[in-house]
């Protein structure tokens, strides 16, 4: 890819290299990360769908690539992937909209 962009898909594969500059904290993070995504009270499949939704809420291209692949590999259907994205959209939209109540409160306070 000759075009310069802030995001390079190949950088995802270098994620582990963050430990080169701070090994202790980096290692703790990756150990924790690995634990989080193991089967637990939630299945690894459910966790991958949550991660996909959060990836969209954060608009992280690396995470979107990683968890699209992860959810497909875990057998999720296309509809499930898109529903997860809509959950993120609903929360993002709802979190803006619910502030409308604050706006209404403020307006009520200001107006006669």
């Amino acid at each position: 890819m000759s075009e310069k962009t802030y995001y390079n898909p190949a950088d995802l594969g270098k994620f582990g290299k963050v430990t080169d500059w701070q090994e202790t904290l980096g290692k703790k993070f990756f150990d924790y990360y690995g634990e989080v995504f193991k089967e637990g009270a939630l299945t690894a499949r459910e966790k991958a769908l949550i991660a996909l939704a959060v990836s969209h809420a954060l608009q992280c291209p690396y995470c979107i690539d990683a968890y699209t692949k992860s959810t497909l590999a875990k057998g999720c259907e296309e509809e499930e992937l898109m529903e997860a994205v809509h959950v993120a959209v609903a929360i993002r939209g709802g979190s803006s909209l619910v502030h409308g109540v604050q706006m209404m409160n403020k307006a009520d306070e200001m107006l006669m």
């Binding site: 299945t43 690894a44 499949r45 692949k69 497909l72 590999a73 875990k74 057998g75 259907e77 296309e78």
Partner: protein, 350 residues
Amino acid sequence: MKLTKSLKARDHELANIERQLGILSDAEAVGIQPFEAKMAGIGLEPLTSRQLEIFQVNVGKMCNQVCQHCHVDAGPDRKEIMTRETMQLCLDAIRGTTIKTVDLTGGAPEMNPDFRWFVEELSALGMHIIVRCNLTIIVANKKYHDLPEFFKKHKVEVVSSLPYFSARRTDAQRGDGVFERSIRALAMLNEVGYGMEGSGLILNLVYNPSGAFLPEGQEVLEPQFKKKLRDKFNIEFNSLLAITNLPISRFLDYLVNTGKYEDYMQELVNAFNPVAAENVMCRNTLSVGWDGYLFDCDFNQMLNLPLEGDAPSHIRDFDMPKLYGRNIILNQHCYGCTAGAGSSCGGEVA
């Protein structure tokens, strides 16, 4: 793009095996460690064969489907099929040996005119017979409609590809309408008892990813397949076998064409699992080509990588002791069998 012809019929550059091997052999170009060196790192080089248990016979490249990922480059235009004489050589070879399982593959093995004769002869020898049935062949023509009954008669284990429980991904990989026809065929197999509890008739499905990614664990996918196929289509089966797509022939073409080859190889290397490497299927399997030549596995067969050294090259020279402990021929495609939980014709190995 839907395929209608094999690479060979299209005179495609990757129909040339030397070209495929040229791509696969150049580990440096992809920035990966050569497979042999990787195996040496865990003390598995040379990789040697063990007691032969599975005798896999590719009875021909003819097929009614033209799947995007086919490592055989099979299709209706492929005319290479095993003769009855070569089948007889196979029967002569295994008679009286410790081999108990014969795995029939293709192409669509059922399209070989001597397929039923071969199965009957194998059955008479008391072999456990596996047929890699693509399902759609059962409904392709009236003459195949009784295959479920025929399989049942000889207690054949049926292993069938179904890459997903919906039409979109299945048809994208295997051709338009394949999912709907596969479901009809599965219903016919269920009807005679295949996949049904207590019948003793085994129907296993094969999952392989519809794209350039690795399969997740069978234990994750199998319950989903069982539930979806039961709820939506009233289909039952025994086990789901997860198989990794190997970068050979049409899947290699797909990877190269879509610019995914390097990433896919890197992913396979990153997922290298020493336990899977220890248990690769080539250690207890012998692969026989349609023309009787012998190989370590069906993939090496398609890459025309013959057995090494003193091992017999053709089924007419079959010799069990000479096959034992032979060095298995390796190349970068072998990373496909050692990734993650491993991959074999029987699914995961680790």
